[in-house]
């Protein structure tokens, strides 16, 4: 599932950064730092990305997932560290929601 989400998240991160005037000349991938030290995005862009990912998942899979809630913020390792960690967290939440029916 994570692999399925990764290209979509890369693409969304790129367009949000571009829209908000953030330099994205480098290639974005699994290990790109998103937020925090050396991160691509600031909090406004991060919030936009997370919401766009939630909306994109709902559109593609018909399932509402929350990837910006207290649970996400209280993870031992922040899901917003890298594009890969965000994709993994989103995939995990999507699987859980699907399993719960």
């Amino acid at each position: 599932m994570k692999d399925q989400l990764l290209p979509f998240i890369v693409e969304t991160a790129r367009s949000i950064a571009e829209e908000q005037g953030i330099d994205v000349s480098k290639e974005l991938n699994d290990s790109t730092r998103l937020f925090g030290e050396g991160g691509l995005l600031d909090s406004l862009a991060l919030v936009s990305l997370v919401i766009a990912v939630e909306q994109g998942i709902e559109e593609r899979f018909g399932v509402r997932v929350e990837i910006a809630d207290d649970k996400a913020l209280s993870q031992k390792n922040s899901p917003y560290r890298t594009i890969g960690s965000l994709a993994a967290y989103a995939a995990q939440e999507l699987e859980a929601k699907k399993a719960a029916g």
Partner: protein
């Protein structure tokens, strides 16, 4: 007794048109006669003087005569129009309605007593003072409907001063403080009230052309719909002298566009609330949101950036909620304002202020900017909780283009980057199909 001054003015303008309903006019002479006929009918139907009476009717000449006949009998009026059909039983109970008077769609009158005896202390007190009353329900768009009880006598006081005679569309009905005010203004000044079957832009424009309307009191939402629909292109609106707007914050972009299209129409902001009545107001100019408010019987002050009003015509209280007044009688409007000398500018409801990571955003400013974009028909902005920044700016947008969300988001950022601070640009967008206003043409930011 309380409407003797109206009877005198009606008699002096006997042959003039008082109301236009379904494109037919009735005169002030007719209204006087109908007032006497209805007084007799109410007496015969056993509607007691001073009773709490629900008036269940739409805006027809008979309904207007009925309101006046009831005021003359010191009744406490509870106007209920068909727009609140499903809530009528609940509203009758809250208002402790003692008699129902209904005008059906065939214009026939039906009256009966409910068997209730009003016992609310505010109602009992008003009855003892032998004053007619008015109960208005808030729309409940931000929670449950509150019932505001007014003494009609101080409300009527300001209409004793003669003012301009105008032909006016009643955009709001008499179950709303604005509609009641428009009606009483016109009746007091021998003006003509033009009623409309619905409030679509083309219906309103047709009525303006056909009945040479001079004054259109409306809401910013309607002004925007009028611009978007371009209905004004098919009709002659040259009779129109003044458009007044109130009930919500006017987007500056909408005001400017309307003024550019109709430079000869005066745009005038109004400010009123069902709790305190309608203040007199004066806009700095047609394309300015700066406005002076007040007038006889009103005091205003600003406390911590929020407008407070003390009014002689203030309501006596809510029937179903605690008193919102301070101990010394000030009403906290909850509207945040900027001040410049005698003028104020209304920024929006404090409760609608969005706090994005410590930065403050008023929905109206964001809406005003987004409405300047091509293809944006309507937009409603509100805050949504988000643990990352506390809240995010959430815009629901109705588009006339077939863009998808990522395409619109991209265009929006491009458009807004030199117009709005970055934190004000919506972080969340949803594209919607349906209109985002309620029955009273006020933007519904809370709706789904």
């Amino acid at each position: 007794m309380h409407i003797d001054f109206l009877r005198e003015r009606f008699a002096a303008a006997r042959d003039k048109d008082a109301l236009i309903w379904r494109d037919q006019s009735v005169t002030y002479g007719w209204l006087l006669e109908e007032l006497d006929r209805l007084s007799a009918s109410l007496e015969a139907a056993g509607v007691k003087t001073g009773a709490v009476v629900s008036v269940e009717a739409d805006f027809s000449p008979r309904a207007v005569a009925l309101l006046l006949a009831l005021i003359e009998r010191n009744a406490i009026l509870v106007p209920l129009t068909s727009s609140v059909e499903e809530k009528k039983p609940e509203f009758r109970e809250i208002a402790e309605v003692e008699s129902v008077v209904e005008i059906r769609s065939d214009d026939s009158l039906h009256a009966w007593n409910t068997g209730t005896t009003a016992s609310h202390p505010l109602l009992v007190g008003l009855k003892q003072s032998q004053s007619p009353g008015l109960i208005l329900f808030s729309s409940g768009s931000t929670g449950k409907s509150k019932a505001a009880l007014h003494d009609i006598v101080p409300m009527l006081e300001k209409f004793k001063v003669p003012r301009q005679t105008l032909r006016t569309i009643t955009f709001l009905l008499f179950d709303h403080i604005g509609g009641f005010n428009t009606l009483m203004y016109n009746l007091s000044n021998s003006g003509c009230v033009i009623t409309v079957a619905d409030r679509r832009p083309d219906t309103i424009c047709r009525a303006i052309e056909q009945h040479k309307v001079q004054l259109l009191p409306t809401s910013p939402t309607f002004v925007n719909l009028l611009l978007v629909s371009e209905a004004y292109r098919q009709f002659d609106l040259s009779s129109l002298q003044t458009v007044t707007y109130g009930t919500e914050v006017m987007p500056e972009s909408t005001l400017r566009r309307f003024h550019a299209l109709f430079p000869n129409i005066k745009l005038q902001q109004t400010y009123g609330l069902s709790e305190v009545g309608i203040m007199r107001s004066k806009s700095k100019s047609s394309d300015s949101l700066w406005v002076k408010v007040g007038g006889e019987g009103f005091e205003t002050r600003i406390v911590e950036g929020l407008l407070e009003i003390k009014a002689k015509s203030a309501m006596l209280g809510y029937l179903n909620a605690p008193s919102p007044f301070t101990d010394d009688g000030w009403f906290k409007t909850g509207d945040a304002v900027e001040v410049d000398g005698e003028y104020i500018k209304i920024l929006g409801r404090k409760s609608e202020l969005i706090n994005v990571g410590g930065e403050k955003v008023y929905p109206a400013e964001v809406e005003s900017t987004l409405q300047l974009m091509d293809g944006v028909e309507d937009v409603a902005v509100r805050g949504e909780p988000n643990p990352i920044t506390g809240h995010v700016v959430f815009a629901r947008v109705k588009l006339s283009t077939d863009e998808d969300l990522p395409a619109f988001r991209k265009r929006m950022h491009e458009f807004c980057k030199d117009k709005l601070a970055r934190f004000k640009i919506p972080q969340k967008i949803e594209l919607v199909e349906k209109a985002m206003h309620g029955e009273r043409f006020k933007k519904m930011r809370r709706g789904d």
